[in-house]
């Protein structure tokens, strides 16, 4: 498989703050690669470096064999970069926006209609509406249409689903998957852990470090312990009670359950149940569950500390 993005020892600092700590990463051509991490983990800095908009302090980055510093002019023709903030002209209509972006890249909507059709046809009925008056989901679709309109080789999407409703988010990922047919490499970041499963491979990033790079399945399968979902009638004290338990590896709130791991390999539900009953909990429900990316993320963070 061809490498589309090659990141070697990238370091970026803002004064005393280190945003990226000597990151290295390879992204293959045609894959959907997720950069998963919380706010402030360095995702946006990484994207701006990839988009040729920011210079790293040290290290090299090449996309499609072109250096982001030296060959930025050539690269800008091949990249489709969508920043985290909604970056379209709010006072222009849907149609005016997309026509403008087509012109910026020296093409026309008509010439590229095949690639944007899937997405643009959904917002085309509103083509005379001002972009500022669109819903969050439609804005995202318009923004994606605008970065796609010049058939980029690599799409850089920085948090495209932040602030978008769950249904639109799901639709959006469906669109991205269909874009694979065009052999476009898609690098996408998200703070939503559940979206990681939609990617071919992901990098988990925290405090400017990449903690793990793998397929989402592998990351999940490599969860080092057995994971239990615990639920009782007393939602307020369960977390602290579990953390006080002698053999607790980790305990985190996850939806309306607590995800719990035990430091021992031998573990019976009954022992924990007895402990919780002693603490006054009733309706105790303990069941083994499969780890999610979020569990893995927390586990990786915990290990680091």
């Amino acid at each position: 498989m061809q490498v589309a993005v090659k990141i070697e020892n990238i370091r970026k600092t803002y004064g005393d703050i280190v945003a990226l700590k000597d990151i290295s990463l390879r992204i293959n051509e045609g894959e959907i690669f997720g950069i998963i991490g919380p706010d402030g983990s360095g995702k946006t800095s990484l994207f701006r470096i990839l988009a040729t908009l920011l210079l790293a302090d040290s290290g090299t980055v090449s996309l499609l064999g072109l250096d982001v510093v030296k060959d930025y002019k050539a690269l800008r023709k091949m990249l489709g970069y969508m920043p985290g903030r909604f970056s379209l002209y709010q006072d222009l209509t849907v149609e005016e926006n997309i026509n403008l972006f087509a012109s910026l890249f020296g093409t026309t909507v008509a010439a590229q209609y095949d690639i944007i059709k899937d997405i643009y046809s959904q917002i085309e009925p509103f083509k005379d509406r001002r972009a500022g008056k669109l819903s969050g989901g439609m804005k995202q679709k318009l923004a994606l249409s605008c970065v796609l309109v010049h058939k980029p080789r690599i799409l850089l999407l920085d948090e495209p689903t932040t602030g978008v409703d769950p249904i639109s988010r799901k639709e959006f990922w469906g669109i991205l998957k269909r874009l694979k047919a065009w052999n476009i490499t898609i690098v996408v970041s998200t703070p939503y852990m559940d979206e990681a499963m939609q990617c071919d491979r992901v990098a988990l990033i925290q405090d400017g470090n990449i903690m793990s790079v793998d397929t989402p399945d592998n990351i999940v399968n490599e969860f080092p312990a057995r994971l239990y979902a615990v639920k009782t009638s007393n939602k307020h004290t369960i977390l602290t009670d579990l953390r006080d338990f002698e053999y607790t590896g980790s305990a985190f709130a996850f939806g309306d359950h607590i995800h719990f791991t035990d430091v021992r390999t031998e573990f019976t539900n009954d022992e924990l149940k007895a402990y919780l009953e002693e603490k006054g909990h009733t309706d105790i429900d303990i069941s083994e569950t499969t780890a999610t990316i979020e569990d893995c993320f927390i586990e990786l963070m915990r290990k680091k500390i």
Partner: protein
């Protein structure tokens, strides 16, 4: 090229859809011209005066009639004796008292006639103007009566008013208004429109596109250049039709110089936007760092020659100062390019410096 045209079109749409920008661009010039033309005026019309005629002969009557028939003055009362002069001023009824000496007609023949002009100088500008008007009229009368009596001077004051013999203040204001408007529209609106792209994050997308920085800037500037030029023409037409502003020099030269000044203002706007991160900052810099010095030091309202030396020196780096000189020279004196090439060269230099600084400051990447 298509890319460029599309961008210019987009910029026009921004302007046309933003009511505030439109209002600033086309409302402001009209309001300013009317305001400066009619309201803020230093010219004299129907000024109340009193006359103390100690001679009451045919000559003083003729002079009085001549003064009162000009429309500049309105007679309040004839005074009877000198003691009433102070009273008239204190009551605030009159701005000027004209005193004709005794035996005026006889003394007039022998060349010893005396006229005293007393003005209320609490407003020194008006006072000076009144003196100038009155003495001009009297001198005119003498010249009419005794064309041959060249040395005859009943009032030891000779005031000659070149270029604006009627002291029409609107003639001075219109060039100033054009300058200010061009400064506001060109500098402020361009700097704001460029920083707006930064603030909204669209600059990030533009930077990441193959569009060259120079193309972005020029495409941004072109609509403002066209609209500023239209504005300048509107103000000139208003000046001509409403206020009868003269244009002694060549129209082509005037428009050419105007375009040059627009370029100076636009490049200054671009320069500001390369420094300002937000629209607010751009607005502040344009307004306070530029508008006030432009209004105060350009010679638009206050003559630069009367300022302290330090301010005169500072005024030299205000582009508007040079443009006001150019405008007045072309419009009122009928100067051609050989008279104003120095001022023109200064503007060209300003323009080049601003453009060079902008290009140097413009980043092809984010900070």
């Amino acid at each position: 090229m298509n890319r460029f045209i599309a961008f210019v079109k987009k910029e026009f749409l921004h302007i046309l859809r933003d009511k505030q920008t439109l209002l600033i661009m086309f409302g402001l010039p009209v309001v300013q011209v009317v305001l400066f033309g009619f309201a803020i005026t230093t010219e004299i019309k129907d000024a109340s005066i009193s006359i103390l005629d100690l001679s009451r002969d045919h000559v003083t009557r003729k002079i009085s009639n001549k003064i009162l028939s000009t429309g500049y003055f309105k007679l309040d009362t004839y005074l009877d004796h000198e003691g009433e002069i102070e009273q008239a001023f204190k009551e605030g009824k009159v701005k000027e008292v004209i005193v004709f000496g005794r035996n005026f007609a006889t003394e007039f023949e022998s060349g010893n006639a005396r006229v005293q002009l007393i003005v209320d100088a609490t407003d020194p500008n008006t006072g000076t103007t009144l003196i100038n008007y009155t003495s001009a009229i009297i001198l005119d009368f003498i010249r009419g009566e005794y064309p041959e009596a060249g040395m005859f001077r009943p009032v030891a004051l000779e005031t000659r008013m070149w270029y604006n013999p009627e002291l029409k203040s609107v003639y001075y204001f219109i060039p100033g208004v054009i300058t200010i408007i061009l400064m506001i529209v060109s500098t402020m609106l361009t700097s704001i429109s460029l920083t707006r792209e930064k603030e909204l994050g669209t600059m990030e997308v533009l930077l990441a596109s193959p569009m060259k920085p120079a193309q972005v800037i020029i495409a941004k500037v072109v609509p403002y250049m066209i609209l500023s030029f239209i504005n300048a023409v509107i103000i000139l037409i208003m000046g001509k039709t409403i206020f009868g502003l003269p244009l002694e020099g060549s129209l082509a030269l005037l428009l050419g110089e105007t375009l040059l000044f627009i370029l100076v203002a636009l490049s200054l706007g671009v320069l500001i936007s390369t420094h300002a991160a937000t629209q607010q900052v751009a607005l502040m810099i344009s307004l306070f760092a530029l508008m006030l010095p432009t209004i105060l030091l350009s010679g638009f309202i206050f003559p630069v020659e009367n300022m302290p030396l330090i301010l005169q020196l500072i005024a030299n780096v205000i582009p508007a100062k040079w443009f006001v000189i150019i405008l007045k020279d072309i419009m009122l004196k009928g100067s051609d390019i050989t008279d104003i090439w120095k001022e023109t060269l200064v503007l060209v230099l300003f323009c080049l410096v601003f453009i060079a600084a902008s290009v140097k400051n413009y980043k092809v990447r984010l900070e």
